[in-house]
């Protein structure tokens, strides 16, 4: 397969700087920069292609679990064990606002399309939407229909999609005011959208990634082989939607074929749990973060 050679499996750079595990690494929207956050309570901004550490954002009181940047790269949002959502100014590194209200740790956070709303997913079984435009620090909406910790959240232009440990992936369609709940029967660790927005890839805690059709809720495919049983691991689709990438608890990174679910490639990327993978929006490039404290940049 010619495809396989295109998969990013060569280590291009190692980004070191985090003390303790790195919990998430994310490309920005154009893929020129990458953000990471970890147990050392910092968020770090990197240039992954040149392997340069650019900036450190410190303010969190506990580990930082997720970070997201706006499309115009001007604002950051992060969340973590201190139950707060921080809204940062990227350039100055100052905290613009802190959103308090989650009852316990916040697992994931995302901006919406216009960077006007931040949606956070918490261990307190709720999703909260926060307004970035006003000065209010109260959530503008609380969704608490989940029956267990909400692990991951994705936003489209019109929907809020979240995966929870209660085994459901819930889509909240703002246009029609409906909640669509897809019960997978397994705790959902991470959800990520396909680039055409038609599918959801849900990483479940039974060491399976599941691909769901969003319109019908059908289970399209299952991807197995990796280990994901107790950690919050990320998974993602490649930018062509041809492959599925995911980390494993044994330090491996797996690539599956999207259609026939065969493992196309697996290689040892880190010395311990690969917590996060993020695929470049246009190139064959990927970053992975691990508990071993490193972020690695992979290229084809």
């Amino acid at each position: 397969m010619s495809d396989v050679s295109e998969l990013p499996s060569k280590e291009a750079n190692v980004l070191k700087g985090h003390e303790g595990g790195v919990l998430a690494a994310r490309f920005n929207s154009d893929g020129n920069y990458c953000l990471s956050c970890g147990k050392d309570r910092t968020i770090r901004l990197w240039n992954p292609h040149r392997g340069i550490h650019i900036k450190t954002y410190k303010s969190h009181g506990r580990e930082v679990r997720d970070v997201h940047v706006t499309k115009d790269n001007s604002k950051l949002v992060s969340c973590g064990g201190d139950r707060q959502v921080f809204y940062w100014d990227v350039a100055t590194g100052s905290v613009i606002r802190k959103f308090r209200g989650h009852g316990s740790e916040v697992n994931a956070v995302k901006f919406n399309e216009y960077a006007s709303v931040v949606v956070s997913a918490g261990y307190d079984q709720s999703l909260r939407a926060w307004d970035c435009r006003s000065h209010s620090t109260e959530p503008i909406q609380i969704i608490d229909t989940f029956s267990d910790s909400v692990m991951s959240v994705c936003l489209t232009k019109t929907e809020i999609i979240a995966g929870s440990v209660d085994g459901t992936v819930r889509t909240f369609d703002i246009r029609i005011g409906r909640e669509i709940s897809d019960n997978l029967g397994q705790p959902v660790n991470c959800i990520s959208m396909s680039n055409d927005d038609n599918c959801i890839l849900a990483g479940c805690l039974d060491s399976t990634l599941r691909l769901l059709d969003r319109s019908t809720g059908e289970l399209l495919q299952e991807y197995k082989g990796h280990i994901c049983k107790s950690y919050k691991l990320d998974c993602c689709l490649t930018n062509t939607d041809a492959h599925v990438a995911g980390g494993s608890e044994d330090g491996y990174i797996y690539f599956w074929d999207l259609v026939d679910a065969s493992v196309l490639s697996r290689f040892r990327a880190h010395s311990s749990v690969v917590t996060s993978v993020s695929y470049h929006p246009t190139d064959n490039c990927m970053v992975s973060a691990s508990v071993d404290g490193t972020i690695k940049v992979w290229k084809a």
Partner: protein
């Protein structure tokens, strides 16, 4: 910054900015050190450490007082013996004679000390004294980290008594115990070797003499002859070497007590200085993560206000544990011995810190030998007398039980007890209950035959059991006792088994508990197997075997062995999973709810597993089902799709740049309501009461509620709104429509679209509101009317609903004139209906064909979202309108169902109407101005967001117009 702080209230005075302080200080320092020195003395200014000049008051010298702030005297200020009482209080010095003596006098005194000559200073007291003096003298000469005189404790004599000298002459050396040299020549050799090694690593040499490792001490103790007891405890006069105190910590304070990794770090630094580089391998990172990471996240504490709880444990800790295993190997053995071993001893033997374990203690545990058992002893106790009945060889004849059930039970119970406790019990109870006619069977009265038969049966049982018990005892040794054997001995048996036996052996229908219980104790369980029913894993014999083993262990109690036999080849996870299974099954069995049908069992198991599945920790073990059919079943179940109503908040929609699907329906009740609202409500007490009466059965559908809701106001809103999200209450939607069809949603949508439509329409709206106001207390009258018109039986109301629908569908032709607002119809209908239909259609589809609705939705999604939203709605509206029309022809019963499904949106729409009516009604009230103010306030609140287009604002505008007009 400021904007951010607007929301907070600050208490107390803020701490001054550090930079400000620092800058001033810096200035002071710079001036003091740098340029001041270059200035001539008359140009120098005196400033304090904060960089300020001292001002002494205008009339007392100003800045130039006290010789320009330098000192109070002409010659300046040269401190001599004076110590400022301000900063360090003059400490009270103990005066001695020496303070008042001259140098020569002191020298003279030196020689006149009375003390033991060093030769005879066996205990070293004098030497200690001299050493202390010496140290004190040195103290004054060289600067030390510890100021003041050296305490006695750390200064100890370095001289040797005559005894020590003698011993040394005899070949004894420090560190040796005094005993036969050949006895521990082996030890000596080892010691020599170690010494050589120590000498090699010279940085540790100073601490060498006291390094007596516990292991070697033990070794010594064994080797030492008991004859030299007196000396063996203090093997040598300790040679105390003063470790120079290089640090500035307090005495006895070990800063590394809780952070030993830093000691390592420091040690490496020190040794690095000394040139012994073999410890450099120990990196800082290793020491940081290697030793500490077990509990908390590596290297980082938490805030002072945060409590340290379970969640701070490092879930990734195991990763580092691997690392520190190889760190240990790099460590130099000697140093770690001297430093770590004493602590180890304390920890191991539980000795208080600062104390040392005595090598030999006076206290000795007295031990007694166990008694000698005679060889012919049989470990079997023979009970004298009562249990052994005069065994009647012939059984009493089988007697039918007495008619009286109670008596029968009583007899059986007594018989069981007697069989168990012996004849004595029978006699006792006979004596006790002599007068009781119930117990006449004991004395040969009614039921005696049955009693004797029963007794015999019980005795037979007991005898049999005893025999078995004895057999069991003889055949198996005690340590091999299993559940069954013990059960046999104790006469235990599972409950359900006994009940079945009873039902078979005794022709009794009435099984009563006390009897049953006693029977479980008396009746021996002959079969060692579990009851047949307890085989939940029949399809997998291996698993079944393990399960039985598990049950055995469970009933045996105590600590269960983690490795169950036969399962050794299983993975840890699989075993854990199976254990969960077993636990669940065992619980089911225990409860006695176990039914033979595997179905139910597996269902219960499923329930268990589902519970487990919701927890993250169990997630990995969650795939409980190992049989394939169940796997298939789960696959069939999942993924499962459900749909619910969900209401996005208006502001969320705005932020997402979407049209609120629930727009126009009132927002969830604002937290801060003006008091005016409630005042208005209370003015209408009659309606309130009606409302309350009906709100009790709010769950009852349809027309019942109609009139009260119509009349009632915000109170209802407040009451019902919390429930809105939760319950699906049936409401007479279409009835409303029939009456207020033109003004409600139409108007909302119209107002929503007003932004796009020409301003003339606004005038129309104003007119319509005016019209409404003219109508005066139309609400009240309407309520009364409706109260008359609408009987409370649902079918009729459903009919009304049906008719209302028809009416509604007829609305589009503008000729249909209504009392309230005709004008609005003309422009607002098309879009409004398209939206409302769309919603309704969504509901309809849901109830009818899910698949279709999905397609529908997906189709909707496929279209471009956002601003083009309403366009897409229009596209659908035609199709949906057709559907609606079709609906209208459906029989009323179906209608009702439909209305029930269309739950929240319509209800809330209704409410909105109500709301508006009430508010419009209020204009006729005297509280006009209050209203107005309230509205304007709420408007002002909303104005904050820039893109204000919602209908609510429009609405306020309308009302404003209206109120102006009315004024």
């Amino acid at each position: 910054m400021n904007t951010d702080e607007d929301d907070f209230v600050f208490y107390g005075t803020p701490i001054q900015r550090e930079e400000e302080l620092i800058s001033r200080k810096k200035k002071a320092v710079a001036e003091a050190s740098g340029h001041l020195r270059t200035l001539p003395s008359w140009k120098q200014e005196v400033r304090d450490e904060e960089g300020r000049r001292r001002f002494h008051g205008a009339f007392t010298g100003g800045f130039s007082a006290g010789y320009y702030n330098t000192a109070g005297s002409k010659e300046g200020w040269t401190p001599q013996t004076f110590t400022s009482s301000r900063k360090n209080r003059a400490e009270f010095k103990q005066q001695s004679m020496l303070n008042f003596l001259d140098e020569d006098e002191k020298e003279e005194l030196e020689g006149r000390y009375l003390g033991t000559a060093s030769q005879f200073d066996t205990f070293g007291f004098t030497a200690a004294e001299i050493a202390r003096k010496q140290a004190e003298k040195e103290q004054q000469q060289r600067p030390s980290a510890v100021p003041g005189p050296a305490p006695d404790e750390i200064v100890l004599p370095a001289t040797e008594s005559i005894g020590v000298k003698l011993l040394l002459k005899m070949g004894w050396r420090h560190g040796h115990s005094i005993n036969d040299s050949h006895a521990n020549s082996l030890y000596k050799a080892r010691r020599e070797a170690r010494k050589a090694f120590l000498a090699f690593s010279s940085d540790d040499a100073k601490s060498q003499p006291e390094d007596s490792e516990p292991g070697e001490e033990d070794h010594k103790r064994i080797l030492d002859h008991p004859s030299v007891d007196g000396f063996s405890s203090s093997q040598s006069t300790p040679v105390y070497i003063l470790n120079p105190k290089e640090d500035t910590h307090g005495l006895g304070y070990d800063p590394y007590k809780h952070a030993p990794e830093f000691r390592e770090k420091k040690r490496t630094r020190v040794s690095g200085k000394q040139g012994h580089g073999n410890k450099q391998a120990l990196s800082i990172k290793d020491s940081l993560f290697g030793l500490k990471s077990g509990r908390a996240a590596p290297g980082f504490g938490i805030g002072a206000l945060e409590e340290y709880d379970a969640e701070d444990e490092d879930v990734y800790a195991s990763v580092y544990e691997i690392e520190d295993t190889y760190i240990q190997e790099d460590e130099e053995p000697l140093r770690s011995n001297t430093e770590n071993k004493p602590k180890l001893i304390w920890k191991e033997q539980g000795v208080l810190s600062g104390f040392k374990v005595a090598l030999n203690s006076d206290y000795q545990l007295e031990r007694f030998d166990p008694p000698v058992i005679p060889k012919d002893f049989l470990p079997h106790h023979k009970f004298p007398g009562p249990l052994e009945f005069d065994n009647k060889p012939d059984a009493p004849p089988e007697v039918p039980p007495p008619e009286d059930d109670n008596l029968k039970i009583l007899i059986e119970g007594v018989a069981t007890l007697v069989a168990r406790c012996g004849k004595l019990f029978e006699d006792l109870s006979r004596e006790k209950n002599q007068s009781n006619p119930l117990f006449s069977f004991l004395t040969g009265g009614n039921g005696h035959d049955y009693y004797s038969r029963k007794l015999w049966e019980e005795q037979q049982k007991r005898n049999g059991q005893k025999k078995i018990a004895l057999d069991g005892k003889f055949s198996s040794s005690v340590d091999k006792m299993t559940v069954e054997s013990r059960g046999k001995i104790l006469g235990e048996m599972p409950l359900e088994r006994s009940s079945r036996d009873l039902s078979s052996s005794i022709a009794s229908v009435n099984v009563n508990l006390p009897f049953n219980l006693s029977d479980t104790f008396t009746k021996p369980e002959s079969s060692s197997e579990l009851p047949e029913v307890a085989k939940p894993f029949q399809d997998d014999p291996g698993k079944q075997a393990r399960f039985e083993q598990f049950l055995k262990e469970k009933y045996q109690g105590g600590i269960r062995s983690t490795v169950s036999s036969g399962a050794s080849n299983m993975s840890e996870a699989a075993r854990a999973r199976e254990r969960l299974d077993f636990e669940a099954a065992a619980e089911v069995i225990e409860k006695g709810k176990f039914i033979k049908e595997n179905k139910l069992h597996s269902q219960q198991l499923m329930g268990f597993s589902a519970i487990g599945g919701t927890q993250l920790t169990f997630g990995g073990l969650q795939q409980v089902k190992d049989t394939q059919d169940e796997d298939l079943a789960t696959k069939k179940i999942y993924p499962r799709r459900e749909e619910f109503q969900w209401r996005p908040s208006g502001i969320l929609c705005k932020r997402f740049d979407l049209i609120d699907p629930y727009m126009g329906k009132p927002p969830p009740p604002p937290r801060m309501r003006s008091k005016m609202d409630s005042l208005i409500v209370t003015s209408d007490l009659k309606a309130m009461k009606m409302e309350e009466a009906f709100s009790a059965d709010r769950n009852q559908p349809l027309a019942l509620q109609f009139s009260p809701q119509e009349v009632s106001k915000d109170v209802v809103d407040r009451e019902t709104e919390p429930e809105v999200q939760v319950e699906n209450v049936e409401r007479p939607v279409d009835l409303y429509k029939a009456i207020f069809s033109d003004d409600s949603d139409d108007e909302i949508e119209a107002s929503n679209l007003n932004t796009k439509e020409d301003p003339e329409k606004k005038v129309e709206v104003v007119h319509s509101t005016l019209n409404r106001l003219m109508a005066g207390d139309f609400l009240e009258s309407l309520g009364k009317e409706l109260g008359l018109e609408v009987p409370p039986n649902p079918p009729y109301s459903a009919n009304i609903a049906g008719s209302s629908r028809q009416k509604e569908s007829a609305i589009p032709n503008p000729g249909n004139v209504n009392i309230l607002s005709v004008e609005e119809n003309s422009f607002s209908i098309p879009i409004a209906h398209s939206v409302s239909r769309k919603e309704r259609a969504a509901n309809d589809e849901k109830t009818e064909k899910k698949g279709e609705s999905r397609k529908e939705e997906s189709a909707k999604k496929g279209e471009s979202p956002g601003p083009s939203e309403d366009k897409s709605d229009k596209v659908h509206s035609g199709k949906i309108a057709r559907e609606v029309r079709k609906k209208a022809k459906l029989p009323p019963s179906l209608h009702r169902k439909r209305t029930s499904t269309s739950s929240e949106d319509e209800r809330s729409r209704k409410r909105s109407r109500r709301h508006r009516h009430s508010s419009s009604d209020s204009y006729s009230d005297s509280s006009n101005d209050h209203r107005d103010r309230h509205h304007s306030r709420s408007k002002g609140r909303k104005k904050r967001s820039s893109r204000e287009k919602t209908s609510s604002k429009k609405h306020h505008k309308h009302h404003k117009h209206g109120s102006k007009n009315s004024q």
